[in-house]
Symmetry: C2
Subunit: 261 residues, 2 copies
């Protein structure tokens, strides 16, 4: 089927999912733009609901569009260039889009294996930061990420910045911080707070127990004292000179690197 109108209900639904967290949450769905991200979603068996492609993109990304057609049948729609421009969040759209269901690969704490590591993000507000951190967590082989009070992991900017890691890393984004920490501790995982405090233990050379988690706090404010108290220990990155703190995604990367040693 060819969709020619920007007011087609499917297109309007896509745009609502693109723009509004509340829509994504009530529909339990999110959007993907671009061939690379859609290829990742197909490879990782993400639950695609529908797809949209221009004639030009069907030529350029023929294998991707073929895969979408065979997966989705009549839920893969051809669209005009004009409709594509309306859907795109980029300046140079590739003309290929999809809607997917919320991911259901959550961290499993039932049977923790020796050496499993977890990450808790508490109150991160920057969509790009969360995506970058997820990508790093994937690269170092983290078993699961808890997002508590963070901005939406299904924000298109976040999804894009994960570079496909969103489909691979088990994620839990519906627990409170206190519940996530309690669940980890109950499963035998030691939980460490990342803090900016010269008196905390130094990350450099810290020996994490075999099953450990690290908590990273908000970009500007870090973790509150109450949040820190729930953890088993406090760890800091010792810095030279007058540097006050690192970018949150950078700090998370160094913690993940040491955690996954």
């Amino acid at each position: 089927m060819l969709i020619q109108s920007r007011d087609n209900p499917k297109i309007k639904e896509y745009i609502r999912l693109r723009d509004k967290r509340s829509e994504r949450e009530s529909a339990g769905a999110f959007i993907l733009e671009g061939a690379r991200l859609i290829d990742d979603a197909i490879r990782e068996n993400a639950g695609l609901i529908s797809a949209f492609y221009t004639r030009a993109s069907a030529e350029k990304f023929c294998r991707t569009v073929e895969a979408l057609r065979s997966l989705l049948n009549d839920k893969a729609y051809e669209i005009t260039e004009e409709v594509s421009l309306k859907m795109s969040g980029t300046v140079a759209p590739q003309g290929i889009y999809a809607c997917a269901s919320r991911l259901d690969k959550t961290p499993s704490l039932d049977k923790i294996v020796y050496g499993e590591k977890f990450l808790v993000l508490n109150g991160l507000a920057d969509p790009g930061n969360i995506g970058t951190v997820l990508r790093t967590a994937d690269a170092v082989g983290i078993s699961g990420v808890y997002l508590c009070g963070c901005c939406d992991i299904y924000n298109p900017k976040t999804v894009r910045s994960t570079m496909g890691s969103l489909f691979r890393v088990p994620i839990e984004d519906r627990m409170t911080y206190a519940d996530a920490v309690a669940a980890l501790k109950a499963a035998g995982v030691s939980v460490y707070a990342s803090v900016v405090d010269k008196d905390a233990e130094s990350l450099r050379g810290f020996n994490f127990p075999p099953c450990s988690a690290v908590v990273i706090g908000n970009e500007g404010n870090g973790l509150s004292d109450d949040d820190v108290k729930l953890c088993d220990g406090r760890i800091t990155i010792k810095m030279s000179g007058t540097v006050e703190s690192l970018n949150a995604a950078t700090a998370a990367a160094l913690f993940l690197w040491e955690l996954s040693k």
Copy 2:
């Protein structure tokens, strides 16, 4: 003096410096917006040329404005709110601005001390990435950063994202990549290329010689084969699963962390 017109030559010059790399290069100057950045510049003795503040900002940031007045005398101008709105690059301007001379704190290779480490950025294109990397380099105590074919370090977005590290880390941004590597090697510094290649040496556990430098390449393309050949070795971050690469600022952070051990 009170500047009331958005067409005042001083204001127009500020805006040109804000918007155009070519202007910054020909004038040898750049702009700073916000009290925190200007405080950093004052503390680190950056070469301030002029400053602009609204009456409201003079009340809110009285110590900063006092310091600017005593440093700059009649080159510290009061401006109207309307002029401030024209100058600001943010949605909620603080109403305090300055122009500063290009920094002249360059890395010194004349007398390298045991343990000195350097960073070479080759072709980085994202202003935010460069700022974040500079902040990390400062935090781990890097002796100097060479920027070769990168986007402008004096871009307002980069300046902001360095969080003051721009004023502290010695920077050289006018050498070619080949010249920078040659100068480092001539000074006895071992230079290592950061690559994405499973056959390269692993960063994890790599023993950098006491005086070493790491080269980070462009966000999308990494380093070219020719660029790598100029180095003494090739090092990679081994990644799990299907992850292809890390964000450039993240990769740089991990290299800097291991380099500065």
